[in-house]
Amino acid sequence: MNDDRTLVEAALAYAPGAFDRLVRQHQRLVWHVVERMVRHPEDTRELSQEVFVRVYQKLSQFRYDSSLATWIGRIAFSLATRHLQRKQLPVNDDHRIDSSSEDPLTRIADDFDFADAYADAELGAAVSAAVEALPPVQRTLISLYHFDELGIGEISQMTGLPEGTVKNSLFRARKRLRACLEQAIGVVA
């Protein structure tokens, strides 16, 4: 948090290179959030830039009640959500989630060699495709939790969703991915 304060104060004082440092520190997080939400290379680039323009304009309003990364991530998530809404694309489309109680993975034999199965590139591609098929918010939550290794609390602050909702969305997304993985394993086997 002290590092955040030093960096923000330097950027607000127009110290040479301070804002550039801030961008470099947080560009990956912003890119991941936006990219996972909008899934369009040009839009991702434009929106990610817009996020940092907003950060520049609103930096004096940052109150240190969260980490700078969380605050910037919140701006990224909010802009990406608005972008999807403007384009009338589904933001949190849960209807595609398979809610059936049947658990197809239980049909797999106990001695099935998962590591060997995963060695098949097709399986990796199947998981990638399954992630791409998730609704934008679930895809982003999976990305923040598993790739960026953020905690539930941080993700909750960043997205403005209650912690229970974050957990539930993660749970559903993983369950859905697991079902897709099972289908892929079935094809491979």
């Binding site: 550039d20 990219e35 991702t44 680039r45 323009v53 998962f114 992630v131 790739f147």
Partner: protein, 163 residues
């Protein structure tokens, strides 16, 4: 929405247990060579007693696959592009501020030029006002324009400082 409810609670625990095992494995705290720990990608690895081992194994495989997925990263020139975008935004903001000021001033001056003399004419009907020295100057549109322009500039500047 709240925490996953029963009967999903067991599956939520399986997911978290699988993730924990995978992270321990990644940090080298389990399944090191010579350890008795099983391969965390194996479906028969230790479950910690929370739920069935097969489910945990499947989730470990899934999470492993997730961490291995290729990720899109910002291009090398991204920071430079942001710097350009910020500069453009500053210029736009500056222009926008001046256009607002000029438009506000022109509107106020126009209003004063049209409304000022009419106001003075209506006040002239009062005998007391016509007796005052220099009251004829108040009928001049130029005087009203200058006064309104000055007042407008002062007001817009004050508003900008407050903002």
């Amino acid at each position: 929405m709240n925490e996953p409810s029963q009967p999903n609670q067991n599956e939520w625990l399986a997911q978290e247990r699988a993730l924990e095992l995978l992270r321990r494995y990644a940090s080298g705290r389990c399944a090191l060579p010579g350890d008795q720990q099983p391969d965390p990608l194996s479906p028969t690895a230790s479950s910690g007693g929370c739920t069935d081992t097969n489910t945990i194994g499947e989730y470990r495989l899934l999470f492993h696959a997730l961490t291995q997925m290729p990720r899109s990263e910002p291009p090398d020139d991204f920071a430079a592009a942001v710097a350009r975008a910020v500069r453009d935004a500053q210029v736009d903001e500056h222009i926008e501020r001046w256009v607002t000021r000029v438009a506000g001033a022109v509107a106020t001056v126009c209003l004063a030029v049209f409304a000022g003399p009419i106001l003075v004419d209506s006040l002239r009907t009062s005998d007391a006002l016509t007796l005052l020295p220099g009251v004829g100057l108040l009928g001049s549109p130029l005087l009203w324009a200058a006064a309104a322009g000055t007042a407008c500039a002062v007001l817009l500047d004050a508003l900008h400082k407050v903002h």
